[in-house]
Amino acid sequence: MTDSLLELRGIDKHFPGVHALKDAQFDVRRGEVHALIGENGAGKSTLIKIVSGVYRPDGGEIRLAGAPVAFNNPREAHSAGIATIYQELGLYPELSVAENIFMGHAPTKKRLGLETIDWERMEAGAEALLADLNIRNLDVGAKVGALNVGNRQRVEIAKALSLNARILIMDEPTAALTESDVEQLFGIVRLLRERGVSIIYISHRLSEVFELADRVTVLRDGEYIGTHDVADTSEAELISMMVGRRIENLFPKQAAQIGDVVLEARNLNRPPLTRDISFTVRAGEIVGLAGLVGSGRSEAAQVIFGVLSAESGEIRLNGEPVKITRPSEAVDYGIGYVPEDRGHQGLIREMTIRENTSMAVLESVSNYSFVNRAKERALANDAIRQLSIRATGSDQIANKLSGGNQQKVVVSKWLASNPKLLIMDEPTRGIDVGAKAEIHRLMSRLAAEDGLAILMISSELPEILAMSDRILVMREGRLVGEFSRAEATQEVIAHAMMGASATANSVGETL
């Protein structure tokens, strides 16, 4: 490995409550495209943020061209020749293409004794950089905000090269691109590789890895799993490396009596992230909704809950067509929604457990509009007991609880409303193993004993597999698969999520 330009060994990174990277390693050779893949939360983003100087590792070694380096901030990584093209682009929309490319290092000249920007040289320089990338149809005087996503990305690449980047990090660069933009991007990547620029390429789309990369490294749960030459591996092997984790102490699901259809969605449409979605959830049934981040799972759930409004389609509850245009109506119809973003959407963190628990049922704990605190307190104490929420009492501020206990408060808010359908969006994200098992036990019990219909969105395949009676898979805003509990395996679901089946192998197909 002497020809490595960048080498990371034994990288460790902790965040409060999370061990994001454990003894991770990674290396990039001169002039190669090295793909970095893994599930959500595998540690890819943390790793590249360490490479680009955003985070400092807690332990481990980084060597650049053989010499140990430590970046204190992104600027130091920049000057070492490492540039990052982020998913959310870091450009100034109100400035011109040339200004963006030369932001921070514009060519200057003396005019009246003052250092001023040399506009002519800057525009010529920008044109030359773009021409170098075979980009000739872009006006360097145009405002970046007026460009499409593909062109903005090209500006960002040109900007990185204007800083003489030797290593270019691309985080999901095709996520927002159209098909022709993807082709152009691939052309640029290949061009850069020929010129000896090294590229770290992060993607969810395995087809891109095979089309573009020389080597591929897989991370899982913050650990390094392995590195392969792309020529010597297969999609099936990569998928099993990505998902092949032990099924960690998950609660065994109780068998439930499946009853009548509670929710029926018919051709729900709200492009781009909800396209023609139809499915049912029955009483006592837990339906798992799998898919990559950005595949439209939460959006579909929010259309049902009335946060987003459907452009067309129909929702039926217990066979009756209903019109839901805002969350309060969904609540009236007996739908609960445990949202993905607990702190922002699920809880009012500054308020007490008591106030949060009664939030969706204020009417029933009130006598004529007056909130009855005794009833409220009884409700909260019930929730604390039944969900074993660890708190000093019902008047504790929700923000002071641990993540798992906060989540239980959100769940208790909806249980208090006696829902027919409970939508749970990433119900156990970011909470510890013990609380996770408790929430799973609770879900299982609610379905089996109370006949609650549960729609569970999760990015964790083991959770999906363990908890669901039926599994739906979304990709690019569409439902692309439905599997019974018996036929579902991690590999089958992962294939459907990534569109990596034999027939769906081209880039165009995934767009």
Binding site: F305, R326, I348, M351, M359, A360, E363, F370, V371, G393
Partner: protein
């Protein structure tokens, strides 16, 4: 039966007292007490029944508007147009009576109705179009005042019948009539904020509007209501204003929004939303009025009075912040 340690659910009397003292309202009350003692030592004209009742008369308009302003600031909003709505109401009242020949009773109702509609329009744009409250009410601050000036054509309406002055200049049981109105409003709307679903919803919206919406609260309906309520109370204040000064002019209530907001913030309502109370606001209103009056009576110039009031505002906010940071640690 002796308690050596305090149980948070069953506080002893001493513990209750301690909590009241370190509450925001408690601190403010102490500041007010100190101010009253100080001012009454400077002049014997200050601490007299007649003077205090007179001050009650003067502060009623600010007090009435401060109630909905507290509601609005608790939700994280603001209403800068209250002074202009007050002026607009006064003009509509005088103009419909004198120029259009409405019976005075009907003119009063029309005036209050137009103030309420003005507030409702604020709410409508804030909720439906998503204009930030600061921008929307800054715009209508100018717009409603302009409207008032246009309608009045710089003329003032006078010559109201005797009964009309009862509210602004009369007394009931020895206390200024409008002060009764303020007291009743404070009690009713204080209880509504502290005890009802509406109040709870306002705090929830102020702390986390998205979270409130995702819990099924009808956020928009609540916001619409409080801005209309603000218009209504400003209109009532406008009616009282006209009744108190016996005439109608289009510049009535100019700048009153700043006095109102100062009182609300002094009373412990966070400008970022989520916390605040009507008792706090009322102490804020009273404190500012007493300082203004007491300092003037002590011979302090009006410029210096403003400086003192500004300093008290800053001091009170510092103390509140200190208490809150202490509270967060425990």
């Amino acid at each position: 039966m002796r308690k050596t340690r305090t149980d948070p659910r069953n506080p002893t009397l001493g513990e209750k007292l301690r909590r009241l003292l370190i509450s925001q309202e408690g601190v403010l009350f102490l500041i007010m007490l100190v101010s009253v003692l100080f001012l009454s030592s400077r002049t014997d004209k200050f601490l007299t029944v007649d003077n205090l009742l007179q001050q009650g008369r003067f502060m009623t308009e600010i007090g009435l508007i401060a109630i909905p302003m507290t509601y609005i600031i608790i939700t994280g909003g603001i209403d800068l147009s209250v002074g202009s709505i007050l002026g607009l109401t006064a003009i509509v009242l005088g103009w419909t009576w004198q120029e259009l020949g409405f019976p005075l009773e009907l003119a009063i109702i029309t005036g209050i109705l137009s103030g309420t509609v003005a507030g409702f329009i604020n709410g409508l744009f804030i909720v439906r179009v998503g204009v930030p409250p600061l921008i929307m009410t800054l715009a209508t601050l100018a717009l409603y005042r302009g409207l008032a000036e246009g309608i009045s054509e710089a003329r003032s309406a006078r010559g109201y019948p005797e009964w009309f002055f009862q509210l602004g200049q009369g007394e009931f049981l020895g206390i200024p009539t409008q002060l009764w109105l303020l007291i009743v409003a404070v009690i009713i709307f204080g209880i509504i904020l502290a005890r009802t679903r509406l109040g709870r919803a306002l705090y929830a919206i102020g702390n986390n509007e998205t979270g409130a919406r995702f819990s099924g609260l009808t956020v928009n309906r609540h916001l619409l209501f409080i801005y209309a309520f603000s218009g209504f109370m400003s209109a009532v204040a406008g009616y009282i204003f006209v009744s108190r000064v016996s005439t109608t002019r289009s510049d009535m209530g100019t700048g009153i929004e700043l006095d109102v907001i100062a009182a609300v913030v002094l009373g412990g309502t966070s400008i970022f939303g989520g916390t605040g109370s009507i008792p706090g606001t009322i102490i804020g209103v009273v404190l500012i009025q007493l300082l203004k009056n007491g300092l003037t009576l002590s011979g302090v110039t009006s410029d210096a009075t403003i400086v003192v009031i500004g300093s008290v505002l800053i001091f009170a906010i510092l103390v509140n912040n200190f208490i809150q940071s202490r509270g967060d640690e425990s």
